[in-house]
């Protein structure tokens, strides 16, 4: 059983790798490939949401916060690297309010600080917030609303601190990525390959988490938190792991989004984008491994395709997607796939028919 699983997973990962690393770069133009890189970044966030929400029941409407933390951490580093040692980033000089770099910008000059920070900073914030709210059994809708409020608060803070955060414009106009010129298509491709590789890595991590004993425990907590407590576990810790993992994934996604797309700003991380992360997951199938990824890419692609020419139509469609999928197909498209599969006879019928029920008395006799 386990062997079959990992065999299939191996093939799946191989197919995914071939598609991402061999087919896509050949089949797609530079422009489309960089679009795909953007979608794959969004898909990374979706992997985390699938884990936290699909498996853990934690509807987090504030993943934009973690995406943003990762993104800003990376962007700050790239800005400082562009400016050169000891210099202030261009936008700060433009606003001209500051004489020196703010203290909290300084450590980001070092890649040794900035790179780990893109992941660890979001995880730390998730850990702090999560330990507070989960321990006090704030859950369900309360948790969803709090996480959404966090996104709102972060955006307000970013916009309010225009001089040091770039305000509504955010951070943009990057020239280099660790010494490589980002205008060069070859380097853009390299960024794409990194993004694709990281996505596969995150999928592997999520898969391990879902299939492990922890994954089973997470589902148990989702379905009956109190019951788990009576078995001697602290559900707060179980949820915390999923939440922190999802935050780390979102942070990494944000960090790669910056070189891939060239911008990070409050409009990308507020309430609206945060909840848009969720719709892709719902469309694809919240409790599955691949569903969130495919759903996120499909929704992002549809958005690009439609929203430029027919912005109104796109908003209606997005609204309808929320309504129809969540209300009438809560398992997402993955549940359709499963239904089709069930029609066909199972490949190995051996373990299907259960042994007759033995009552405890018969066992004793």
């Amino acid at each position: 059983m386990t062997a079959r699983y990992s065999w299939r997973a191996g093939v799946g990962f191989a197919v995914g790798a071939v598609l991402l690393f061999a087919v896509a770069p050949v089949a797609l133009s530079d422009f489309r490939l960089s679009l795909l890189a953007k979608y794959l970044c969004l898909a990374m966030v979706a992997v985390g949401i699938g884990l936290a929400w699909g498996r853990g029941g934690l509807l987090t409407l504030g993943q934009g916060v973690f995406f943003g933390l990762g993104g800003y951490a990376m962007a700050m580093h790239m800005k400082l690297a562009d400016a050169g040692p000891g210099e202030m980033p261009d936008f700060m000089q433009l606003y001209g309010q500051l004489d020196a770099l703010p203290w909290w910008w300084r450590p980001f000059a070092s890649p040794w600080f900035a790179l780990p920070a893109t992941v660890l900073l979001p995880m730390l914030v998730a850990f702090l917030l999560g330990s507070l709210v989960f321990r006090r059994r704030v859950r369900g809708a309360y948790f969803a609303i709090l996480s959404q409020a966090l996104a709102a608060a972060m955006v307000i803070l970013l916009i309010g601190q225009q001089g040091t955060t770039g305000g509504t414009n955010g951070l943009t106009d990057f020239q280099g990525f660790f010494g490589y010129d980002l205008d060069d298509p070859v380097n853009q491709r390299m960024v794409y390959f990194i993004v694709a590789g990281v996505l596969l890595l995150l999928l592997a991590i999520a898969r391990q988490l879902m299939l492990s004993r922890y994954g089973e425990l997470l589902v148990a907590v989702r379905d009956s938190e109190e019951r788990v407590r009576f078995l001697g576990y602290n559900p707060a810790n179980v949820k915390l792991v999923a939440y922190v993992a999802a935050a780390g994934m979102a942070g990494l996604a944000g960090a790669l989004f910056v070189p891939a797309v060239g911008i990070i700003n409050p409009a990308l991380i507020g309430i609206v984008p945060s909840i848009e992360f969720v719709i892709g997951v719902a469309v694809g199938g919240r409790a599955t491994l691949l569903g969130p990824v495919l759903g996120a890419v499909a929704v992002a692609w549809a958005k690009t395709a439609l929203s430029e020419e027919f912005p109104a139509a796109w908003t209606y469609l997005q609204g309808l997607l929320f309504v129809l999928v969540v209300a009438f197909l809560p398992g997402g498209l993955a549940s359709l796939v499963r239904m089709v599969r069930r029609r066909r006879p199972p490949p190995d019928p051996a373990p299907v028919s259960p042994a007759p029920v033995v009552s405890p008395q018969e066992v004793r006799a």
Partner: protein, 241 residues
């Protein structure tokens, strides 16, 4: 084995004392039945012992004071319970249910790895509760009685020393009751058991000692025969209700 000692236990909901100064001693290895009319405070008593509701007084299991500790800590001290309505993890299989119950002490590394083999205790419990053939079925698909057995099985693998069962045979067929009773005998061999029940036949067949609760207070206590002969009990069961 340890016994349960409850002293002057009080649970108050908005001024209403659901458990009103209960003293209770359950000897190690006893099968104690807790009976009483609806609303007597039986479930609330168990809630207090397992940490679900706030209470005053004292609840000692062995040498440990239970009151004031969080639910999961009490569970780790070897106190387990079932619920009036069976609660199992419906989307997980029987095996997964048991495996989770068996694993509260697992370290992070074990948790993050996959289950390669079925733990011995789980295998044994599957046999004991008679669900070995259904191990890969989702627990949600089990019959009502089977869910109750699964819950008891979860307590077994959890390796609790004190079992608190809330109406384990409610809604069961006659055969299922007998099977449950037999199961009770098996599990009580090296554990202290407290059973809440309304079913008097079931109590007569399987109780060792009985405590009658009424309006949050202990009304009577003793062997089945003693309790049945107690006029106060007859008054509550026949006179009032």
């Amino acid at each position: 084995m340890s016994g349960l000692v409850v002293r002057d236990l009080r649970v108050v909901f908005d001024g209403f004392a659901a458990v009103d100064g209960v003293d209770l001693e359950v000897a190690p290895g006893d099968i104690r039945f807790l009976i009483g009319p609806n609303g007597a405070g039986k479930t609330t008593l168990v809630d207090a012992v397992t940490g679900l509701v706030k209470a005053t007084g004292s609840v000692r299991f062995g040498d440990d004071e239970l009151l004031g500790r969080p639910v999961h800590r009490i569970a780790r001290m070897g106190v387990g319970r079932t619920f009036q309505t069976a609660t199992v993890f419906e989307e997980l299989t029987v095996l997964q249910n048991l495996d989770i119950a068996a694993g509260a002490g697992r370290g992070a590394l074990t948790l993050l790895r996959r289950r390669r083999s079925v733990p011995v205790s789980v295998e044994e419990a599957l046999e004991t509760i008679g669900l070995a053939g259904l191990r890969d079925k989702p627990a949600g698909a089990l019959a009502h009685g089977q869910k109750q057995w699964l819950e008891i099985g979860m307590l077994l693998v959890q390796d609790v020393k004190l079992l608190l069962l809330d109406e384990p045979v409610a809604g069961m067929s006659h055969d299922e009751r007998d099977a449950t009773g037999a199961l009770l005998r098996v599990v009580s061999a090296d554990r202290t058991v407290v059973v809440i029940e309304h079913d008097m036949d079931f109590m007569r067949s399987f109780a060792n000692t009985v405590t009658v609760l009424h309006a949050g207070k202990v009304l009577s206590e003793g062997s089945v025969a003693q309790v049945q002969a107690d006029p106060a009990v007859q008054q509550v069961y026949l006179g009032v209700s």
